[in-house]
Symmetry: C2
């Protein structure tokens, strides 16, 4: 089997998550570490107990800081390339839980520059429109508006550029080539951009924890190489797997292939149609055969989505799994369970997005953390 | 003879200025073009009549615009790498004349980012200190404070970054490599930086004229390749030769080799000592021989400096040249003439620099053009 391709801009093939841990030099989140988190936080998020967040760097140090009563801060981001889909929400749902449990400041970088620079045909005004919509969807997660700063690179560059030049001075083209696969044909904006994605790890003088999908790891490898030279700390990460595309468990969902994704804007009928038509099934070819042989939840995308986050109740999930394996639960019924869960999630999301409009100013400019950040020039 | 090395960061060897015109694909400023300028402006600056500004691109188009009563704008810059020397003042003295004659808006870019990024050992705080001092020296030239905007890249980036990403998207690493001689070891800040030096050519929707030494030409070659794709005009340039170092006519003066340069901060005694001790002389080895054979003004740095700008009176300059060739004027006397001219220039510069302190706000933030620029976000 050919190796999967994993870069911040492309995920192709069947991802061997254990191999990524070896290739990237990260660590598996151990049972002992989970135990410490459970004790510290009073509970464990299902994305941790179910190994959706499965890999890390220095998470033990972060837990140690929190156990000792010291502060950490959290940093994540969103790339506004096209409308947000359900896979984009995973890190934010998890991050919301992290902020609740730690009380930490959260920085959300909206990488409008990156997404504009990355593809020739993209126009900046389209990216900005998408970015504004993404910001509403992020706010809808319910973060603390006085402890959360959401910023677009093209705006906050005014406070970031000086420190960005210090970061950029530590990284040459060779490094960018080998870490990100850049070539001589890569435009010079993309070559510079990673310095800006590294910079928020230096926003506070304490430990930074980054919850993100594992494809973002190259940035943090470079960050960890240069942080101490610049007088800062290496950032800690907690890496998630990718929510599989509707059409099968390979690769990553993409809003540019609408059949593979449920968009946050999809209405109830569209959700039902997409799941019924495209969700890859682990069932048998006929009801008779399914009743006799049972289905395979390991490749059934509807079951996988339920287990990623949409059925948080472990007992109920186990029942669904057992019933599917035994043939009691049919593929169509499995899909119906997911459709209901998705539509109830999306309906809630839409409602909170409506209310998010009036919070944009606070998260971006006038909340306690935002105000402090606009007064801070990083050098 | 090995070719001279000419990049924006290094000038070494004897510069063959005619060859540069061929290599860079620029044009000589013709007698006819000078005639048109003389008619238009009422006079010709000595740096034009004496071919210090000797090469151009599209200067004819600029003159055409002005003849037709249309507006142009002027853009130049200063790299704050070390204290300003007398060679740095040449483009500003000439630019002051250009603004007076054309009434054009002038943009002065202070490339603090570039100078920090370029050398490993440089600290940003030192660069900023130098930049602030350079700005005083620039203001001392007497520009129109309501038609001149002086800005540091690290500050004005807030208004420039969006358009910079559009520029950066049009330029890949291959181009930067071949135009600027960048390598895989070049840091990614330097690789991105040229987009910022190109951007001010897009500040107005009219023709841009750039007076600068010819080593800056690589930027304008790239600018001319991409300007029209981005919906802007190709920038016009007028290129000067380099004021030769005190120690001989090769290369370019450098403040990091204090013997080769007169710094704007040098006091009268220092100026006299440096010129007397280091200024390369075209004279003979003894007074007797000099009286008999005469001196050679073509290699005499003191004479060259007088002819670059410090003796603006053509008749007096001709007399000095003739007297030197005939042996009537001794090398020490030639040096004394230069010392007096330099000290009178520097005394005036110091006086105006003192007064410049109270104008900084206006040129950078509160003058009519500066206010407009801080309200303008380039996209």
């Amino acid at each position: 089997m050919a190796d999967a391709i994993i870069t911040p801009w492309e995920v192709k093939g069947t991802v061997d998550y254990d191999k990524l841990i070896k290739d990237f030099g990260t660590s598996k989140i151990s049972a002992e570490l989970k135990q410490r988190m459970k004790k510290l936080f009073g509970e464990l998020h299902v994305m941790l107990s179910r190994d959706i967040y499965y890999s890390h760097r220095d998470l033990d140090a972060i837990i140690g800081e929190l156990e000792a009563g010291r502060k950490i801060f959290i940093y994540t981001g969103i790339g506004p390339s096209s409308e947000m889909h359900i896979g984009h929400i995973i890190p934010f749902a998890f991050t919301k839980w992290l902020q609740e449990k730690t009380g930490a400041n959260l920085y959300v970088q909206v990488t409008d520059d990156e997404k504009f620079l990355f593809k020739k045909e993209r126009k900046l005004e389209d990216i900005e429109r998408i970015a504004d919509d993404d910001i509403l969807n992020v706010i809808a997660q319910g973060f603390d508006p006085d402890k959360t700063f959401i910023f677009k690179d093209t705006e906050y560059i005014r406070n970031m550029y000086k420190l960005a030049t210090r970061i950029a001075k530590e990284v040459n083209f060779s490094t960018m080539k080998s870490v990100f696969g850049f070539t001589n044909s890569t435009n010079v904006g993309m070559i510079f951009y990673p310095t800006l994605q590294m910079e928020p790890t230096f926003f506070e003088n304490s430990y930074c924890l980054i919850p993100a999908a594992i494809d973002q790891d190259p940035y943090w490898r470079v960050q960890r190489d240069i942080a101490e030279k610049l007088g800062y700390r290496k950032a800690a990460q907690i890496h998630s797997k990718f929510l599989p595309p509707l059409t099968g468990i390979e690769g990553k969902m993409s809003a540019s292939h609408p059949d593979t994704a449920i968009l946050l804007s999809d209405d109830e009928k569209t959700v039902e149609r997409k799941v019924m038509k495209y969700a890859f099934s682990g069932g048998q070819q006929s009801v008779e055969l399914h009743r006799k042989l049972g289905g395979n939840p390991d490749v059934d995308v509807s079951f996988q989505w339920l287990s990623y986050m949409f059925e948080p109740d472990d007992k109920k999930l186990k029942q669904i799994e057992d019933d599917y394996r035994s043939g009691k639960l049919l593929s169509g019924e499995m899909k119906q369970i997911l459709v209901e869960k998705l539509n109830s999630f999306l309906s809630e999301q839409r409602k909170r997005k409506e209310q998010a409009h009036k919070l944009v100013e606070k998260f971006m400019y006038t909340g306690a953390l935002a105000r402090k950040m606009w007064d801070t020039y990083y050098e």
